[in-house]
C-alpha cells in the first residue's frame, strides 16, 4: 500500500481551451499530453508559470505491447518533458501503435491479443520503460477498443497479471471501461473490482462520448459531458481504490464546454472524491 492521501489530486488533461480555468480551486493536478508538449523548438516549459500538486505526462507512442521496447530517443524526450514540467508520473496506453523501431505506425493503439506472448512482451517493455524513467512513476491505461484479437485469457486477467508482474501503476480510464463493457457486453463493476486489488497505485481518466447508433457502439470521443453511468462507475472505482488513487484527470478534446461547464465538471469530480474519502 502506498501513502497516497484519501482525496486524489484532481485536474484536467491540459488543452488550450481549458487553460483559462486551470487556477480553479478544485484543480490541483494537470496532465500534459507529451505529443502536444514536445515541440522541438520550444523555449518555455509547457506548463508556463502554472503550478500543481501533481503533474503527469501522458504519452501516445510508447506502444507497450509492441514486440520491442520503445527507442531511447523517444524515452529521453519523454523524460525531458517530465523533468521540465516537474511531473511525478508518466503514462501511456495498453496497446500497440507500431510493429518495431524502424517499422510503421498504425495511427492509433490497438489492444494486444490477450495471450501469454503479448503479456510477456508487454511486461518486458514496461520493465524497460520503468528502468529508463527512474523515479518517475509509470502508469498503463486500459484503452477503449473497437475489436479484440483472439486470445487465451480475459482482459481483466491480462491487466491484473501485468500489474502484478511489473508493479507499474494502473491508469483506469473509467469511460473506456464503460465503453468496452457496453460494446462487448461485460460487467464494468466486475472488471474494476477484479483488477483493482492488483494495482499498487492508480490514476483515473474521465470523459464523455456518444452512442453511435449506426455502429451500435459507445464511442469514447472526449466530446461530451461525463455521462451518469460513468459518474456512478467513478464513485465505485474510488471506493474500490481508496488510499491508492493518486490523481484523476478529465479529458475533453472536442465540442468544448463554456467556462461554467469546465468548472462544474471538475468540481463534481472533487466533490465525489471527497465524499468517498469521508466515508472511507
Amino acid at each position: 500500500m502506498n501513502d497516497s492521501p484519501i482525496t486524489p489530486a484532481i485536474g484536467y488533461a491540459i488543452r488550450e481551451q481549458n487553460r483559462p480555468i486551470l487556477d480553479d480551486p478544485a484543480i490541483n493536478a494537470a496532465e500534459i499530453t507529451f505529443e502536444r508538449a514536445d515541440d522541438p523548438l520550444r523555449v518555455d516549459r509547457y506548463l508556463q508559470d502554472l503550478d500543481f500538486d501533481h503533474v503527469s505526462v501522458h504519452a501516445l507512442k510508447l506502444s507497450v505491447a509492441s514486440p520491442e521496447p520503445p527507442n531511447q530517443n523517444y524515452l529521453e524526450a519523454l523524460r525531458s518533458i517530465a523533468i521540465e514540467n516537474g511531473a511525478s508520473s508518466v503514462s501511456d496506453h495498453l496497446g500497440f501503435t507500431r510493429d518495431g523501431d524502424n517499422g510503421v505506425e498504425m495511427g492509433h493503439f490497438a489492444p494486444p491479443p490477450w495471450t501469454e506472448a503479448a503479456l510477456t512482451a508487454t511486461c518486458r517493455n514496461i520493465d524497460h520503460i520503468q528502468k529508463r524513467l527512474g523515479g518517475t512513476r509509470f502508469f498503463v491505461e486500459t484503452i477503449a477498443y473497437l475489436f479484440e484479437f483472439q486470445g487465451t485469457m480475459s482482459e481483466a486477467d491480462f491487466v491484473s497479471k501485468m500489474l502484478k508482474c511489473t508493479g507499474c501503476g494502473w491508469l483506469l480510464d473509467v469511460t473506456n471501461v464503460y465503453a468496452n463493457a457496453t460494446n462487448f457486453n461485460f460487467d464494468p463493476y466486475e472488471f474494476i473490482s477484479t483488477v483493482m486489488p492488483h494495482a499498487d497505485s492508480v490514476q483515473m481518466h474521465l470523459a464523455g462520448g456518444f452512442f453511435d447508433e449506426r455502429a451500435g457502439m459507445y464511442i469514447d470521443s472526449h466530446s461530451a459531458p461525463i455521462p451518469d453511468a460513468v459518474w456512478d462507475l467513478y464513485r465505485f472505482s474510488l471506493e474500490q481504490g481508496v488510499g491508492k488513487v493518486d490523481a484523476v484527470f478529465i479529458e475533453r478534446d472536442q465540442d468544448f464546454p463554456d467556462e461554467t461547464g469546465w468548472r462544474s465538471e471538475v468540481r463534481r469530480v472533487r466533490e465525489i472524491a471527497e465524499q468517498v474519502g469521508v466515508h472511507a
Binding site: 510503421v104 498504425m106 495511427g107 492509433h108 491479443p113 475489436f147
Partner: protein
C-alpha cells in the same frame, strides 16, 4: 517454458504484430480478419483504419496548407499517399508532411513553383529536426537572443563581445522568385536561410554579403567583430558601417546573438 520455446513464441508474436501493424497502417483490413476474436464484427476493423487514415489526412491537409492553391488535387493525392505509404514509427506529424513532399515528385510532375513549396516544407522540417537534435544549443541561443536589443548597441565599442550564429538553421535554393516576392530568379536560384526564432521558423533571403557573413560565422564559430572583419575581408571588402548595419539587421531577425 524452455528458452527455445520462449524464443519461438517471441518471434511468432513479433511476426503477428508486424503483420497486423503493417496491414492496418494502410487499411489492408482483410489481412487481419483471421486474428480478430471470434464473433466480433469485422466491420469494426474498417472503422479503426478509416478513422486513423482520416485523422492522418486531416493533419497532412493542415500542414500542407501552403499547397492549397498550388495543387488542385491535393486532397486526392493525400488520400492516395496515406493508403500507399504507411506512417513511419515515431512520426512527429511534420515528419509525415516531409515524407509526402518527397513522395510527391514520384507521382506528379511538379512545376518549379511547386518544387519551391516542397523545399519550404522540407526546410521547416529540417529546422525542427535540428532543434530536436540540439535542444541545448537552441535554448541557449534563444537566451542570448533575448539580450540582443541591449548588446547590439555595444557592438562597435565593446571588443569583448562575441558574435554567435544561430545553430538551428538550414539553407535552400528556390528556383523561382514567387515565394520571396521577386518576379524572376537568377539562374543560380535564390538562396534562403530557414532558422529557428523562439518556437517559430523564420526565413531570410541571403544576398552575397549575407551569405559570406553566415559562412564565416559557421566556419569560425563564435568570434569578436575584429576577427569577423578579417575573415570577411578575405571574401570581400565591406565597409565598417555596412558590416555593422548588416549585423544589426541579423540581430533584429534573431539570426545572430552576442555574449
Amino acid at each position: 517454458m524452455s528458452n527455445a520455446s520462449l524464443k519461438v513464441s517471441r518471434l511468432d508474436y513479433a511476426k503477428q504484430i508486424s503483420r497486423i501493424a503493417r496491414s492496418l497502417a494502410v487499411a489492408q483490413n482483410e489481412v487481419v480478419f483471421g486474428d480478430v476474436a471470434i464473433g466480433q464484427s469485422l466491420d469494426r476493423v474498417g472503422m479503426f483504419t478509416e478513422g486513423n487514415l482520416e485523422k492522418r489526412s486531416d493533419k497532412l491537409n493542415d500542414q500542407l496548407e501552403l499547397f492549397e492553391d498550388a495543387l488542385d488535387d491535393l486532397p486526392e493525392l493525400i488520400g492516395r499517399y496515406v493508403r500507399l505509404m504507411p506512417l513511419a514509427a515515431y512520426d512527429t506529424g511534420t515528419s509525415d508532411a516531409d515524407c509526402f513532399v518527397r513522395w510527391l515528385p514520384t507521382v506528379v510532375e511538379l512545376t518549379p513553383e511547386q518544387r519551391d513549396l516542397t523545399l519550404v516544407v522540407r526546410s521547416r522540417y529540417a529546422v525542427e529536426e535540428a532543434g530536436r537534435r540540439n535542444r541545448m544549443g537552441h535554448v541557449r541561443f534563444q537566451d542570448l537572443v533575448s539580450l540582443n536589443d541591449r548588446l547590439v548597441a555595444e557592438l562597435a565599442t565593446n571588443s569583448e563581445l562575441r558574435i554567435h550564429l544561430n545553430p538551428i538553421r538550414t539553407r535552400a535554393i528556390f528556383e523561382t522568385g514567387l515565394l520571396v516576392g521577386e518576379e524572376e530568379a537568377p539562374e543560380t536560384g535564390i538562396e534562403v536561410l530557414f532558422f529557428a526564432f523562439q518556437s517559430e521558423v523564420r526565413t531570410v533571403v541571403l544576398e552575397p554579403e549575407g551569405r559570406a557573413l553566415v559562412q564565416s560565422l559557421a566556419d569560425t564559430g563564435p568570434c569578436g567583430l575584429s576577427h569577423l572583419k578579417v575573415q570577411l575581408d578575405l571574401a570581400m571588402s565591406l565597409g565598417d558601417d555596412f558590416l555593422l548595419e548588416m549585423l544589426s539587421d541579423c540581430s533584429d531577425l534573431g539570426l545572430i546573438a552576442f555574449s
